[in-house]
Each structure stands twice: as C-alpha cells, then as structure tokens.
C-alpha cells in the first residue's frame, strides 16, 4: 500500500514536472550557435574546363559559362499560383543569357520567421536567399550564413548593378565593414503619412490638415461629433513608441531614431552625431502634452493598448477616421477603396511640410548568396540580370506580359484579373529603376513621394548601422521598460505627465541606458572618424 501511494506521489510529481517542462518546449528559437562556418570563397572558383566538345559560350564579360548550372533561390511568401508558367518563361530566357536555370523555394508568411534561420543554420542546399533588415540580415550575416561580396566579385560578375547602385546603398548594407547583400536599387521612402476622411473634414468645415495643430483639430471634432467613429486607430504590433511618433517626433524634429527600437536619437543635421535620450528632451514632453490632450478628448479608444483591430480594415469600413502608415500601403488602400466605390472621400496628409525626409535604408529588400553556394558567379550574374535586364526584371516583378499585366506607356502597368496569381512573395529585392508603377495607384500619393524625393536629405550617418551584439540584453531590457512605462504615457493613460516621465527615466537608467548610450556613441564616433 505504501508502495502504491509512493507511486502516486511520483506520478504526481512527474505530471507537474511535465506541465512545467512543456512550457519551455517551444518558441525558443534564438541564440543558437552557428553551424556552417563561412568558407572564404576563393576567387578561383572557375568551373572545370571540361567542355571541349560543347559550344564555347562566354558572355560579354568574358566569363566562361559553358557548364549549365541550376540555381536555387529561397523567397519569403507563398508560392505564387502561376509559378510554373512564369518561372518556365524566366528559365527559358535565363538559359539563353547565362546558361542557367533557377528554382524558387517559398517560405510562407505564416512561418518564414521560424524557417528562415533554420534554413541557414542547417546549411541546406540553396544558392540565393532573399534578405532584409527586417528578416534579421545583420544577425545572419554575423553568423556566417551569407557569402561576403567583395568588390572584385561584384564588378566582375554583376557589373551593371555595381555601376548603377548608389554608393549609399552599398554602405548601408555593410555589416562590420563587410558586404553580404546586393540591396534593392530603389530609394523607398518610409516616411509615414496620415490618411484621413476628407468628407468628414468638409462636413464640419475644418481647416486643411497640414500641421500637428490642424490634425488635432480634426481629430477632436470627429471625437465630438461623429458618434461611432474612432478618430484615430494605431497599427497593432509591438510598438515601443506611439504609432504617431514617426510623424510627430521623428519627422517633426528631423531626428534619426534608430528604427524606433531604442530610446535614443540624434539630429540629422548634427555633424558630430551626438546621441541623446529621447525621453529627456523638452520636445518629447511637449508631445506628451499634445497626446494627453488628444486622449482626454477620446481621440483613440480606451482599450487602445490591447486592441487587436486591423486599422486598415477599420478605416475601410468607416470605423475609424484616420490612420498612419507609409505611402505605399496607404496608396494601395486608397486604390482599393476607389475600386470598391467606397462612399468615403479619403485623402493623404503630410503634417510636416518642408521637413527633411530620409529614404529607407537599402537593406529593406535585398538578395544574399548562401555561404556554401557552389555557383557564386552565376548567382551574381542572375541578380545582375534581374535588376537591370528589362525583360527579366518585368517577368520576375509582374509576371507574363498580357497574362498578369499589360504595360501602360513606359513607366506604368495595368494589373489584369490574373495578377493575383503572381504576387504576394518577396520579389522586391529586384526593385530597380526599371520598376513600373501600378496605374491604379493614386496619383496624389505618387506626387507626394516625388516631392519628397526632391527633398531627400543625405547626412553623414546615413550608412551607420549599430552593432548591438555587446549590449543585446540591455537593449531588450530597455525595450521592456519602454513598453511598460513609455507606451501608457504616450497614449495619455498616465494622469501626471511629469511624474510618469521621471519614473520612465529612472527605470531606463536601472535597465542600463547609460551603457547602451555610451556604446552607441562610441560606435558613431568611430564611424565618423573613419569617414574623414
């Protein structure tokens, strides 16, 4: 009997251990050592010249391409429905041009984040992979998953890209001074805009929205008069700042804020690149007053911090009266609403007119070559064609002419009803000046960007990339403090702003703010010194 109860106790202990243990069983896919160590690519990667009988094919650059190779490329996003027909066409042309074929492997949006690092860690067999700063480009490069692209390699095998890519783009794609990516060749503007309901503005006779003040006027008027419409809905996600900070803080003050991931910023025009704590600035405090005022007028819903609403869907159905996002996304949304004959009149607003705009860093989209690839030359030639050969570029970006799109003039295209069968995956790494614009895209959105592009500001620290490997844990702590103390403050949920700010800064200090700041400043100083 005693034995039995002991067994029962054991079973119980085991059970609880199982339950506790099970929690640590999933979702931990970080900090694993790298397995594939990047072999230094020897320039002498010449294919064996055993092609005496076959036709001696060389390209214009005098590169031997007599041996046929099969390239594998990993894309992010679902496999397009018409993959076979379009890639068949691509391969036909690729065979003629560089005696190669390409096969795509697709990591779905639902699980790319888990699979992407695994593919590299397991050193699976592929040659090219889509890479981007938001897909952990820096980490993967440091782990040795990508091949270092030297000037020799690029100028020899991707000469057009080498010639056409702006210097800034190469600079931004460097990790610790080495290049592991061929970035996209198109300056995207990532500045955020505001999309609002023009019909409501007219209905209440509100002033034109062109400054933070007029925007606040609009929001408050909606809150007061339009029952059932939320004036502003933020984008969901793990924001460490207020959703409007990109507009009201970063653009307004002309700061660079490190992707809004850390509590630091520097002024774009400051040639010394002096880093400061955003939360200690008077500008931030003024903004808090602005936000608090909006919150007191019920400009966003009370449960704003745990709402899971899709702000774009809310805007489309008329549930919310303004959202913020980048130009491409808002333009698409406008195009969609017009297509559906939406009863609302919508308009874009830039409330920081004349302020300096910066372009996206080039690593937003890019192509990297797998460190263990055996077809380095041909992979680079492939990238070169995709970015600069109109025929290839259009196939990869828009599908088959007449099936998925029809060209409109030289710079635009019209999407056909088959268009969704070749879209939705990451072909943006081949963005280049050859890109066509969708003609359905609202003209005013394109015009705004053109105006911005004339105003793009280049500054000395544009290509600076912070290597956070030494202070990773502190940065994580800082992020947690920001989520816990700064977010409620910015959404006006804290009654006493001064007290809240003091507490926030105290907590940041405890989380290691000074360490990170010193490290950041040291790296910036070193970077600036090396530029001179």
């Amino acid at each position: 009997m005693l034995k039995k109860s002991r067994m029962g106790m054991l079973a119980l202990a085991l059970t609880s251990a199982m339950i506790v243990g099970a929690c640590g069983n999933n979702g931990n896919n970080g900090n694993t050592g790298n397995t594939g160590n990047a072999a230094e690519p020897s320039a002498a990667n010449e294919p064996a010249a055993n092609s005496a009988a076959t036709s001696e094919t060389t390209t214009a650059g005098g590169i031997d391409i007599s041996k046929e190779v099969h390239l594998k490329m990993v894309f992010v996003g679902p496999k397009p429905v018409d993959y076979d027909s379009v890639f068949g066409e691509i391969n036909k042309k690729l065979k003629e041009k560089i005696n190669a074929t390409v096969e795509g492997e697709f990591l779905d949006w639902s699980d790319w984040a888990q699979k992407y690092p695994l593919k590299l860690a397991a050193s699976e067999d592929f040659d090219l992979i889509y890479s981007a700063n938001w897909a952990g480009y820096n980490d993967q490069a440091l782990k040795g998953g990508f091949l270092e692209l030297t000037e020799d390699l690029l100028s020899k095998y991707a000469p057009e890209t080498w010639a056409k890519m702006p210097e800034v783009s190469w600079g931004q794609a460097k990790v610790n001074g080495k290049l592991y990516m061929v970035p996209q060749n198109r300056g995207e503007s990532v500045e955020k805009l505001i999309l609002y309901r023009e019909d409501l503005r007219k209905k209440y006779n509100l002033p034109e929205i062109n400054s933070p003040e007029t925007y606040a006027t609009y929001l408050k008027a909606i809150a007061e008069n339009e029952k059932g419409v939320v004036p502003f809905t933020p984008e969901t996600g793990d924001w460490k700042y207020h959703n409007l900070d990109r507009v009201l803080l970063k653009q307004q003050q002309e700061w660079n804020m490190f992707d809004l991931d850390m509590p630091f910023a520097y002024k774009l025009t400051d040639t010394a690149g002096k880093v400061f704590n955003v939360y200690e600035t008077p500008e931030f405090k003024d903004l808090l007053v602005y936000y608090k005022d909006l919150a007191d007028h019920n400009v966003w819903s009370k449960n704003v911090l745990n709402s899971k609403n899709d702000h774009q869907a809310d805007f489309k159905t008329g549930k919310t009266a303004s959202i913020t996002h980048n130009n491409g996304t808002l333009g698409s949304l406008m195009a969609l609403m017009r297509q559906e004959n939406s009863p609302f009149e919508v308009k874009l607003a830039d409330i920081n007119q004349g302020k300096k705009k910066s372009v996206a860093i080039s690593t937003q989209n890019g192509t990297s070559i797998h460190a263990t690839s055996k077809n380095i030359e041909r992979s680079l030639m492939f990238i070169d064609l995709m970015q600069n050969d109109k025929e290839m570029h259009d196939l990869m970006m828009y599908g088959i002419n007449g099936v998925h799109y029809t060209p409109v003039g030289d710079t635009k295209y019209k999407a056909t009803d088959k268009n969704p069968n070749f879209t939705g995956f990451s072909n943006w790494n081949f963005n280049s000046p050859l890109n066509l614009d969708n003609e359905a895209f609202p003209q005013e959105a394109s015009d705004l960007v053109k105006g911005w592009e004339a105003n793009v500001y280049h500054y000395p620290l544009e290509t600076f990339v912070f290597d956070n490997s030494k202070v990773k844990s502190e940065i994580a702590n800082l992020g947690n403090v920001m989520l816990r103390y700064a977010i409620p403050l910015e959404y006006g949920l804290v009654k006493d702003i001064d007290k809240g700010l003091a507490e926030l800064n105290e907590q940041l200090k405890a989380a290691g703010l000074e360490n990170v700041q010193a490290e950041l400043q040291a790296q910036i100083d070193a970077f600036l010194a090396s530029q001179k």
């Binding site: 039995k4 067994m7 029962g8 079973a11 085991l14 059970t15 251990a17 199982m18 243990g21 069983n25 896919n29 694993t32 397995t35 992010v76 996003g77 679902p78 492997e105 779905d108 949006w109 639902s110 699980d111 790319w112 888990q114 699979k115 690092p117 695994l118 860690a121 397991a122 699976e124 609403n309 899709d310 774009q312 809310d314 489309k316 159905t317 008329g318 549930k319 996002h325 980048n326 491409g328 996304t329 333009g331 698409s332 195009a335 969609l336 297509q339 559906e340 996206a360 937003q364 999407a415 268009n419 969704p420 879209t423 939705g424 943006w428 890109n435 614009d437 969708n438 359905a440 895209f441």
Partner: protein
Amino acid sequence: MDRMLFSVIGYFALTVMALLCLLPFLLVVSSSMTNEEKIILDGYQFLPFDFSIEAYKILFKYPDQIVNAYLVTLGVTAVGTLLGLFLTSMTAYALSRKDFKWRNKFSFFFFFTTLFNGGLVPWYLLIVNYLHMKDTPLALVLPMLLNVFYIIVMKSFLSSIPEAIVESAKIDGAGDFRIYAQLILPLSKPALATIGLFLALAYWNDWYNALLFVSDEKLMPLQYYLYKMLGNMDGMRKAMMGAGAVVTTALPTEGLKMAMTVVATGPILLAYPLVQRYFVRGLTIGAVKG
C-alpha cells in the same frame, strides 16, 4: 412529489447548461457565414444577419488541395494513434511489471529526458540532416509517437491490475507477449481509450512538425494548410508595406478564421462520443478505489 420537483429542476438546469455549452459553436458557425464588413463593424454575431459564404468560397478555392490535406491528416492521425498506443502500452506494461528488475531505472531514464531538450536547431538538424526525414510522412508521425507523460499515465493504470492475473496466465503457459495482448490490453480499455484520444487529438491538431519539415504540398496536413492560408493573408498585407503593390481584393480574414475553425474541428468532434464513456473512468483510475 419532491422527487418529481427535483427532476424537473435538475433537468431544466442541465438543459440550460448544455445549451450554454453550444453557444460558442453557434457563434463560430454563424460568424463564418457573415459578411466580413459586418463583422468588423459590429463584431461576431450569434445569427448570420448579413449572410455570405465568401469565406467558404476562399477556403475551398482549391478543393483538391483541401481534400488532400484532409487525407494526410486522417492518415497521420490513424497511423500515429494506433502505433503510438501500441508502443505506449507495451512500454508502460513492461514498466508496471514488479518482476522487471530495472523498471525504476528505466522509468527514471524516460522521465529524465522530458526535463531537457536540445532546442529547436539541433532537433531540426537531427531530423533533416541525419535522419533525412524532410518531406516524408515519417517526420509527421515519429516526433509525437511516444510521449512520456502518456507512458506514466498508462503505467499507473496498469499497476492497478492485480498481479495474480499475470501469474495465473504464466502458470497456464502463456508467454509475455500473449499475456500483454490477450489479457492486459482488453483489461485496460479505459486507459487505451483515454490515451488514444489524447494521441488522436495531438496528431489531428499538429501543425508545427509540418511547418518545420514539410514543404511538399502533397504532404501538408489540414491544420498546417489552414494555418498557412491565414498566415499568408495576414503576412501578405503586412509585407506589402512599401512594395507599392496594390492588393486587389479585400480578404475576409475574420470570417475566414471562423470558417477554418468549423472545417478543422468538425470531424474530430465525432471522436468524443465514441470514447466518452471510457474517458471519465480512465482519468480517475489509479485513485484509491473503495
């Protein structure tokens, strides 16, 4: 009279409870048939006021794929459950035998493995690079075949079967396997049903192994197929940021989630009535019986 009153009240209360349990299902089914815009504006509805089968249309846009996914799931669930039950019960039986000298050491060894794991990357490497199971059905069946927790539950149940049965069978000349197959298994139906249901549910709901090890569309189980579909819709919208791409159709994600729930949970619900009568018994077995 009192008894009568008690019955009336009792039945009434139970009926209300049962209906309350059905409400969530009603909500899911009706929301899956409601127009997307209506859901965004007014939330989920108990009755489909604005009827639309758009979500189901999208779900069954490629019927051969979804049928194939169903078949994969059914196959994996059937094979995995049967094989898993067989292995779990054999292991548990061996561990429950008092005359098995090292049973405590073995038990400890099994248990010990549950406390640690190598982490995701080594596991992935093992399955892909060493066992070469990428894109094979094995990758969907093997990882969940033997669960230590189920072995322990099974073992504690088997310990309650009197030793005398085994002894008498031995005297009659039965071998170990025969004792297990013809005496122990029939006696442990409640536990088998319970563990079987656990296993079947785990296999039915598993999408993670498929996520990691399957890229071939023909091998995609239902849950992963649905997960992918939804993830791609959300992801696509997020990823189109700045790509300047115009999303040409509005996707009914909210309704779609509900429609998926209906499609994915429907069949497995049928497993419950079959094993229900064993279920309650099976779980309380091992408690002290009067």
